[in-house]
Symmetry: C2
Amino acid sequence: MTPDERRSLILDGVSEVVGAEHLESCLATGRGIGGGPIKAYIGFEPSGHAHLGWLVLSQRMRRFLDADLHLTVLLADWHGWINDKLGGSLESIEVASVHMESVFRCLLDDPPEGDGPGQVSFVRASHLVDDGDYWAGVIRHMKNVSLARIRKTFSIMGRDEDDADGDTSKFLYPAMQSQDIHTMNIDVALGGMDQRKAHMYMRDMADRLGLPKATCVHTPIIPGLRSATGRMDASITGGSGVQVAGADEKMSKSDPKGAILLHHGAGRIRKLMRGAHLDPASPDSPIHEILEHIVFVRSTSMPVDRSEEHGGPLTIESVDQARRLLADGDLHPLDYKESVAARIADLLAPLRSRIESEPATFQALDRLVQKHSA
Amino acid sequence: MTPDERRSLILDGVSEVVGAEHLESCLATGRGIGGGPIKAYIGFEPSGHAHLGWLVLSQRMRRFLDADLHLTVLLADWHGWINDKLGGSLESIEVASVHMESVFRCLLDDPPEGDGPGQVSFVRASHLVDDGDYWAGVIRHMKNVSLARIRKTFSIMGRDEDDADGDTSKFLYPAMQSQDIHTMNIDVALGGMDQRKAHMYMRDMADRLGLPKATCVHTPIIPGLRSATGRMDASITGGSGVQVAGADEKMSKSDPKGAILLHHGAGRIRKLMRGAHLDPASPDSPIHEILEHIVFVRSTSMPVDRSEEHGGPLTIESVDQARRLLADGDLHPLDYKESVAARIADLLAPLRSRIESEPATFQALDRLVQKHSA
């Protein structure tokens, strides 16, 4: 694979790349900061069920592996603990971690695990933090940052600036997120556009501390199904799968009617999609985003299976075509929604089978999620 | 040794004991929280030269060992680093740690080292922090405390409440000091009266977290030689050998004319003592404190070697006697000062020999201290 081919796999179609020069120098030498393979990472708080947004991320993760990057999936259990996920219980978060690992193995098509190029590692934050050097890094970081500056990052956690005043552990979170990247010698940090703020903060801190700066790659994010302002570029907020005040665009599992969860079956997906926002006169709809960033990443066209009386079968080949057909009244919103729903259900069918083959893992998590959403 | 004998060694002559019930239950069973020997600890930031205040602490530490407690001397290197000691360099702080260890071995009369009763362990904080469980404790602590509450402890570090706003690592310090005690299963925490605030905070946090609460034993503290308000009960401030705004009573190495350092020779000690505050009409003087809390802890009387023309030889057997003689004009302040100085020089002679036998250790520290006080 040439550097150009690798670059295309890594970057084509992302929403944003920050600090591409580091990736360029890695591609030129074929090596990462640590001297081995070029290392990418993405971090998730294991906080509950997976939603459709993970599909966008896993598509990019798969491309990273195809580009012979090493990929670490950080199961950010301590971050979730600090951020009060699943009742702030590390035991419960571990249940979510086990499920999350399984989901990503399936979404990534069971890639080889290991430390080499094209291989994936699942790393618990609780493993990283069991080392004084990690905390020395956190302290060096905190010695160089003001309380006010840390507060400004709190949307990373989906929190307001004064949310940590009664729980000071939250002031550790941004330093930990930066230190994760440094400890693991990461060359490419991946996240949705909602992670932009965390990554820019990490780069700012790396400058202050004279540390290498990972290239940051941001994917589009999928809006909630009921969002009217569904363009992903309006959604540079939030983070870690958490809904943020004022960021109601992003799909979030905290809105049951707004989120397709990855274990949903065809019937549930269809029902949720039917309730999604779609105004034929407007170019903005979460359905368009799903079509563009999920369906059309896998296929070049989408069939609309329509009866003759409603216009007969149709093939959609671009999102703009769908917008035009809707605006002109040549495509009924319901037909469009049902077609996208059917395609998503197809894409999720292998994951659903995997989840059904491991019922204990899923059920344990499901009980916890029910308990903490009650 | 009976529990009563042990109690007397541990507590007789201290300024304060907080939470004696835990010590009582240990003495009744002969075991500490950890199931082994009753464990005591004292923490020091290895930040420079030792001063006379350490002599008061080491006398109590020696009694703890005589009472068959296990004693840990925590060389709080990370705390010193966070608190910007010796330029905030862990390497420099390690130089101070090596010297500090040697000083305490000598002051404690070379006790056996080990984990048993009557034995001492020197532990670096950098060893404690190399464990995720330690940090889990710090995070649990921080989850239960407000920013405002942490600020109120900052005098522990010798800092003002807003000193950490530009260096957020300092917000970790109080949680770490509490966690040290918990991690090591400490039954008795020892410190000068200046550590009272840190210990009360630790007890408050232990209550919130449902953790066992170590008994806290506080010794008198020796005021600076130029302090006019030299009663130790006026000195419930400061900490960690650091001078605190408004706490000018406590002896501090940051005032070269006010502090006797443990490596000083007889000539230097005499000169410093001659400059000490002493008003014959007042009951308060740092000289009285040194006589009471150091000289009379080791001997029951102090000779005053006076020429016949100044009144001839004299033996002082109590601090009140000295106060009366001075007030009545029967003892010249200079004769009194010189007698105390000579006694202190005698007490420090073995340590001075030890230091001279290890010149490299002392000189390495001395160079760092010169550099950072310049």
